[in-house]
Amino acid sequence: MFNKLLIMKLGGFLLLLSGWSIVVAALALLHGNAVSIFVLSGVAVEILGLILVARAHLPVGEGQR
């Protein structure tokens, strides 16, 4: 259980960093409407990361319900 939670936390933080990387990469590499689409995609990835981190911090048992 402990390892599972740790992996969830790590995965969540990796998703947060990945989302931000997508946003920065979109700014650096793309032009026009594509920038907005990729920025929003990056934010969506960050939200997934936040959800994962939040679930990993629920008291043991709560996340299983």
């Binding site: 933080f13 947060l16 960093l17 990945s18 989302g19 931000w20 990387s21 946003v23 920065v24 700014l27 920038v35 907005s36 920025v39 929003l40 990056g42 934010v43 960050e46 990361g49 936040l50 939040a54 911090h57 629920l58 008291p59 048992g61 709560e62």
Partner: protein
């Protein structure tokens, strides 16, 4: 003297005067944090705030300014240009000109305010020494990193280089003060875990009441005065606003806080049949926080709209963190400063009417969530392994006043049992 010269001098004078009222914002937040905590940890909360203020100021002096640099708008004083501002070094070396000192003083007070915000989520269970260590990392590295990105690096250039409105707008610090502080508060609340007895075995939270509602509400009034100074100086220093716009800043800040406080009162009246003092205070603070980003950009009507949403949002956010996420945040710091700070940043994009501004604000929020939050969580996770953050179970039962300071805040009061705790 030319009109540009008069404007520059006026800007400098307004910023200088504002510096003297910004400490009231820090005092206000400290009083709110102390009042919402428990009576057996009241002296600890105030002492911890003073220690944290000291550490934040010194850490910023040692390396914070060197990391942050000067904002790109800092060229309003006629005789000075960007070249003369120069590059700041550690220990404030090379900070000699009056304009450099003004920027450094404002940033020092801002980082002190952001550091005090964090204490609210960790009340009644965070050791002073751990709070000081965490603050050193926050004030010396995490806060200045985002401030640099927002004020002079790529977020500030989103408008000129990427065609996103006027770039990331955050005049009074909804993002670089409140969201950085609020996200750090979330990281620490997660690392510390809830207070003893907060959640029963089936996960239901107990309502641990605030020990002094008068502290809390007086803190809100002090914070209002401080925020007027914070937003006025921030608008000139970080948004390049002309001095005459300070009146608009004062109006927007007051209207936003008023609307948010009243909305929180109405929402709690409808939901709980009585207005809730602590949530109204949180609503008022949420309005101040949400007003900061757009204080110089929004119109009074949109500032009121921002406050209306912020005041409602904070009530639901406090419940969401407490009931759904099981985060024990005694002072609502995460909801007030992180959630409503993010709302304030979004509101600028939605209501400013500048094409592309919303996207610039979203990029700024993405940076806060995707870069600053993992960094601040990682730093605190590491520090927690070196200096354990949480007091012992005995210390928590005894109260942090006696455990850490050896004396109670109210020695003549009878300490009653924890009858509100679920066993």
């Amino acid at each position: 003297m030319t009109s540009a010269g008069i404007n520059s001098l006026l800007s400098f004078a307004i910023c200088g005067c504002c510096l003297f009222v910004i400490p009231l914002a820090i005092s206000g937040v400290t009083l709110v944090n102390t009042g919402l905590g428990r009576s057996r940890s009241a002296a600890h909360a105030m002492t911890c705030s003073l220690c944290v203020l000291g550490v934040a100021a010194l850490a910023y002096f040692v390396c914070g300014l060197a990391v942050q640099g000067y904002p790109s708008h800092l060229d309003f004083l006629g005789g000075l240009d960007r070249g003369m501002l120069g590059r700041p070094h550690i220990f404030f070396l090379g900070v000699n000109e009056s304009l450099q000192l003004l920027a450094a003083a404002f940033a020092t007070l801002s980082v002190a305010l952001a550091s005090v915000i964090v204490l609210g989520a960790a009340a009644d269970r965070w050791r002073i020494i751990a709070a000081c260590a965490s603050t050193a990392a926050f004030a010396g590295w995490a806060y200045p990193s985002f401030a640099r990105l927002a004020q002079s690096w790529f977020l500030a250039q989103l408008g000129t280089r990427f065609g996103m409105g006027s770039g990331f707008l955050d005049a009074g610090g909804s993002g670089f003060i409140n969201v950085t502080g609020g996200l750090t508060a979330l990281a620490i609340a997660w690392l510390l875990g809830p207070r003893r007895g907060k959640y029963s075995s089936n996960g239901m939270p107990a309502a641990i009441p605030a020990h002094n509602a008068v502290f809390v509400l007086f803190g809100c009034m002090l914070a209002w005065v401080g925020w007027l100074g914070l937003n006025s100086a921030g608008a000139i220093l970080y948004a390049g606003s002309p001095p005459e716009r300070s009146v608009l800043v004062v109006i927007n800040t007051t209207f936003c806080a008023a609307a948010a406080g009243l909305t929180a009162a109405a929402v709690t009246r409808i939901r709980f049949r009585r207005p809730d003092a602590s949530l109204i205070a949180n609503g008022w603070m949420a309005g101040l926080v949400a007003s900061s980003a757009g204080c110089a950009t929004l119109k009074p009507a949109t500032a009121i709209l921002t406050g209306l949403v912020g005041g409602g949002l904070v009530v639901f956010s406090v419940e969401f963190f407490e009931f759904s996420l099981k985060v024990d945040d005694p002072c609502g710091s995460i909801s007030v400063h992180a959630v409503c700070g993010i709302w304030g940043l979004l509101a600028v994009g939605i209501f400013s009417g500048i094409p592309g501004q919303l996207m610039a604000q979203i990029v700024g929020i993405a940076t806060l969530l995707g870069f600053i939050f993992p960094m601040t969580y990682g730093l605190n996770w590491l520090l927690n392994h070196i200096i354990p953050y949480r007091v012992s179970a005995d210390g928590e039962r005894q109260g942090l006043d006696l455990h850490e300071l050896g004396a109670d805040a109210y020695p003549e009061f009878v300490v009653h049992a924890d009858e509100f705790m679920q066993r």
